[in-house]
Amino acid sequence: MEMHFDQHISRQFNEDLESIKTEMLEMGGMVTRQVADAVEALATADSELAEKVLRVEEEIDRCEMELDEHATLIIAKRQPAASDLRMVMSIIRIARDLERVGDEASKIAKMAIALTEEGTAPRGYTEIRHIANAVRKMLNDSLDAYTRFDVKSAMETLAEDEQVDMDYRSAVREMITYMMEDPRSISRVMNVLWTLRSLERIGDHAKNICEQVVYLVEGADIRHGNEAKLR
């Protein structure tokens, strides 16, 4: 599939589009790293790594604002149409999703700090690891599909969210059992629950990114269960 974003008569326009795409993908790389670090900090009780996640979070917020500004400038200067317009719109939307993934990562980092302070290894880490691996893969694959304008792979990644949701629900049931078994564990297990919740949300954001790949390439808005719109 050829999208030809480098064939504008205006070379500057080619560069502007290329540059916001690169910015977005760099932001995606940072955010993916954040999720990995936050989960690692939690699993290894590494509060230093967790603090780093919280610091990088501010950088990600700045990235989102810059990306927004650059996209706004392109709209103002170029009045993009068709695939150009879809690219700018999709980048704005993905940047918002990425920023929220960053928020979830820093929530996980905060849980990591809280759990480290308690100094005990609560149950539920296996579930966290499992779901974390799944959503990190989704996030990676969604950005990869965007880079390659690959609708097929975006649709496959999008479908993985269902499994993540199922795993999340079953993990929640398990956590409830732990809390019932041992009420003293409630505050700790609640932290694990919030973490699972954050990971599940990251899966949703990765799904949103996949939907933007479809929008960019096919021009079909399949959000909110409108997958039938994909011709």
Partner: protein, 295 residues
């Protein structure tokens, strides 16, 4: 873009196209291979109906087999690079091409089912029904009042001064010019600003109560404020008229029209809802043109 309809000729096998996007692109750029218009060229509410229209200037063919409907109370925008035939096609609709030596129009063109090029058609009443606004404002070297009153007078729509007064005021009001000129109706139309002159020309066109208004780049000589006024006016006029507008401004086409037709090398490549054309065009030539790519 996977669903891009290419309409390449039968010489290019479908399998080859899928394997080689570059060959696919080159194939479609050959004029002879755009064989069918993609999208929705037809309307259930056709006011103007054109089928298989060919236009020749002497030996040169300027329009190749164009079929298009323009619906009632609809604004259709025609876009395309210079020399693509959009103005030529527009001028067929009220036989303005008759004035060009060596110009020949073939095909079926009807206005409300009546042949525009019928042997008994008198072009004067035809042009009263299908009015035209040109790129450069061209008011008559007469007073503002006479510019608007001239048409109704010669077409015998009104003869008494009171009737004419009413038509002039109404037309100027609808063209959004009345408040600016009501105190100087006897001053020459040529003394107005460019934007005002163009609105005067629109007032002149609507004074004879046309059914269709053709606009050939009506804003290309105007500043953005005058342009905004004309665009606002086009939207209001749509309630009562059918409008076809040729424009080089893609944003203008996007703003004022309900459907957009893309012409390329004398062929009608794509007609679709304006929204579709500007967000997700069907044909890659349309995409290349509206996004400013090499095409």
């Amino acid at each position: 873009m996977t669903t891009m309809t290419l309409n390449a000729g039968p010489a290019v096998a479908a399998g080859d196209q899928a394997k080689n996007p570059a060959a696919e692109q080159n194939a479609v750029k050959t004029n002879a291979e755009i064989v069918k218009t993609v999208g929705q060229p037809f309307s259930d509410q056709a006011k103007l109906r054109m089928r298989n229209v060919n236009v020749f200037y002497g030996e040169t063919q300027a329009i190749h087999d164009v079929s298009l409907d323009i619906g009632r109370n609809e604004v259709v925008a025609m876009i395309g690079p210079s020399g693509c035939g959009k103005s030529t096609f527009l001028r067929c609709l009220n036989r303005m091409n008759d004035t060009i030596e060596g110009c020949r129009v073939e095909g079926e063109l009807t206005l409300d089912g009546e042949a525009i090029y019928g042997p008994k058609v008198d072009v004067v009443p035809l042009r009263a029904r299908v009015g035209m606004v040109f790129q450069k404002p061209n008011p008559f070297p007469k007073s503002i009042y006479d510019n608007v009153a001239y048409g109704p007078k010669i077409h015998g729509i009104a003869s008494r001064r009171a009737e004419l007064d009413e038509i002039v005021e109404n037309s100027l009001r609808r063209a959004g010019l009345w408040n600016e000129v009501k105190d100087r109706l006897d001053k020459p139309g040529t003394g107005l600003s460019g934007g005002q002159q163009q609105r005067l020309c629109i007032a002149r066109a609507i004074a004879v109560s046309p059914e269709v208004i053709l606009m050939d780049e009506p804003c290309s000589a105007l500043d953005p404020i005058a342009t905004a006024r004309i665009e606002e006016l086009i939207d209001e006029l749509r309630e009562n008229y059918t409008i076809a507008i040729v424009t080089h401004s893609m944003q203008q086409a996007a703003r004022v029209s309900q459907r957009t037709a893309y012409f390329h090398l004398g062929k009608l490549v794509e007609v679709n809802d304006t929204e579709t054309v500007f967000t997700n065009p069907e044909h890659e030539l349309t995409e290349a043109y509206i996004t400013g790519r090499f095409g």
